[in-house]
Amino acid sequence: MNDSQHLSSQFDEDLSRLRSSVLQMGGLVETQISAAIDAYSRGEVASVKHIVETDRNVNDLEIAIDDDCAHLIAKRQPAASDLRLVFGISKIVTDLERAGDEAKKIAKGVRRIYEAGQMPSQYGIGVRHIAEAALGMLRQALDAFARLDTELAVKVIQADVDVDTEFKSIMRQLITHMMEDPRTITTSIDIIWIARAVERIGDHAKNVAEHVVFIVEGRDIRHPPKEAKA
């Protein structure tokens, strides 16, 4: 897992525990998002409350892990790849927490729609589709982190473009729909919020993948130069 040999295995254990707790937090966010998608496509308003409550656990975990990172740096003064790992973890945790927030937003949007007696089904398929793609991205990003697999991480980064494209096409459809029938504006705006949150989840997954590349290779690929982007 770690190339460098450590004299103290206690340190190794601390690092490995830190990694595991990040992934546990990731698991929590994954379930949260998956539950939000279910709530959206099946109209399970009952699960919204649970999703919102889980978000509190996610927040607590973020604070606890960040704290652990600070402690680890202070106590062990890690260097090189270990320091990168601790830094990377601290960033990943922030992105995970935000992805959790987006799941909460989706859940609340679902509640608004269904409580108004509306159904998101007309555009449900599109939004559901990108939601599943974004969740898949997050899952792969976390897998890449667990395995320190940069190849998979790069794949996740590339997949973000598809989610963005699909998000834009959903927006266009909804705008057309709102112009045709102004009565659907309230619901359509809620759907836009949800789609926006989904798109953000994709972005956070991409960020996590970028942090994985940083941890493994030590290079920052967050803002590539223009020609590399094309």
């Binding site: 490995s16 595991s20 992934l23 994954e30 976390l142």
Partner: protein
């Protein structure tokens, strides 16, 4: 001391014995020279063998044999054999391990072995697919890093493995997994993963069935209770009372027939394979025709088409009830004046019993689910016609027990044809 060693020592002594008299009687320098030359020759011999051993030990291959000379031969031989035995043993062990791994791979359940820290030691291909693991890279990885679902983590860390954990697969939403952890060899753990998608679905069907039964029984019960209450609380005249009682007895009849059909169904399900009596089809069809005419009360034209050949092997009561059900359905769903055609044709290849009517017909979209318990196309109509919703389920079960297929063809508004096809093994008389 072993013989080769003694021989080598004797040779050295012999040199001394030969050199000593020469040194004594000829000249001391001649004796010493002879002694040195003798010992030198022996050393060259030993050195050559040593070099050979040294060369071989760098890459101890067993196909080029290790051969020594003189005293070294025995030593080399034993060393060589020892090496060869070891290799054979390792090869056998390897084979055994490969067999065990192959056995693990052959399991249809997923298997994951975990060490004390819940790190993955081994998993088979099924488990790889079920949990999205890749054993090549994931060995030594804590399993909770990859299977991150909170329920699973809580289960594994909770340490209470009395009951398996049912988990919806994360990687494939449609699958339901049942995970059972068995501790072994101290603190190690074996995870057994079953795909229970099928039985999970069955469970749901069973729950639906119970809900349906309750609903079907409650409907007539509500009517009964309503009338009873009315009779208790309000004075009604004689005619009214008689009407109520008639309706009540009708409803209790309904409940009776539902319970009767449920009992029939459960007895068919749990019964041993049907008897192999020969059923006389000619008389059975005659009986069925008379029943049909009685049920129809002359409102339908009932036609029997048969060449009178061939009989069936099976349990007569079950066949009578299955065929009777098909005929009573035809009578019930065919308006007055329609035709009901009962046919029986048998050959050495098999036989077919069919009931064709000119009734209301069935929309094709209902056909696949028609034999499900309590499946109704039109709840009100079927109940008015006196159905329990279980008739075709019973027919299908009875026919299945006779290896027969129920084939339904129907055109809305033109009529339906229900055919029971029996395999050759069930037909006698050819």
């Amino acid at each position: 001391m072993s013989a080769p060693l003694i021989r080598a020592l004797l040779l050295a002594l012999l040199t001394a014995f030969v050199a000593w008299p020469v040194g004594h009687f000829v000249a001391p320098w001649a004796g010493w020279t002879l002694f040195s030359v003798g010992l030198g020759l022996q050393m060259v011999f030993h050195f050559r063998n040593f070099a050979r051993l040294e060369r071989w030990s760098r890459a101890p291959v067993v196909d080029s044999s290790l051969e020594g000379e003189g005293a070294w031969d025995g030593v080399f031989g034993r060393l060589y054999r020892h090496e060869k035995d070891l290799r054979a043993q390792i090869a056998r062990r390897d084979e055994e391990i490969a067999m065990l791994i192959a056995a693990g791979q052959a399991l249809t359940d997923g298997v994951v072995l975990l060490d004390q820290q819940n790190q993955i030691v081994y998993c088979n291909t099924t488990a790889e697919m079920q949990l999205g693991l890749v054993i090549g890279t994931d060995r030594g990885q804590p399993i909770v890093n990859l299977v991150r679902q909170p329920e699973f983590v809580a289960y594994l860390q909770g340490g209470d493995f009395a009951r398996p954990l049912t988990l919806r697969s994360e990687r494939n939403e449609e699958r339901v997994l049942s995970i059972h952890v068995v501790p072994y060899a101290g603190n190690r753990r074996l995870m057994q993963i079953k795909d229970v998608t099928q039985s999970d679905r069955l469970d749901r069907t069973r729950r639906d069935f119970v809900a349906n039964v309750s609903h079907e029984l409650r409907t007539p019960l509500t009517v009964l209770a309503g009338f009873l209450e009315t009779l208790q609380e309000i004075e009604v005249d004689h005619d009214e009372q008689a009407r109520y009682l008639a309706l009540m007895s009708e409803q209790s009849q309904r409940m009776e027939s539902i319970v009767q059909d449920l009992l029939t169904l459960s007895s068919i399900e749990s019964a041993p394979p049907p008897a192999n009596d020969t059923v006389d089809m000619a008389s059975l069809i005659d009986k069925l025709r008379r029943d049909a005419e009685a049920l129809s009360g002359g409102r339908h034209n009932i036609v029997v088409e048969t060449d009178g050949q061939g009989d069936l092997r099976g349990a007569e009561p079950e066949l009578v009830s299955a065929f009777g059900n098909l005929i009573s359905n035809a009578v019930r769903y065919t308006p007055a004046g329609g035709t009901i055609r009962i046919s029986w044709h048998a050959s050495a290849q098999g036989a077919e019993f069919a009931v064709q009517d000119t009734g209301i017909g069935i929309d094709p979209k209902h056909l696949p689910r028609l034999t499900e318990r309590f499946y109704r196309i039109d709840r009100g109509r079927s109940r008015d016609a006196g159905g329990t919703g279980l008739g075709l389920a019973i027919v299908k079960h009875s026919l299945n027990r006779h290896q027969a297929q129920l084939e339904i063809r129907s055109v809305l508004g033109q009529g339906s044809r229900f055919a029971a096809r029996f395999p050759a093994s069930r037909v006698v008389g050819f």
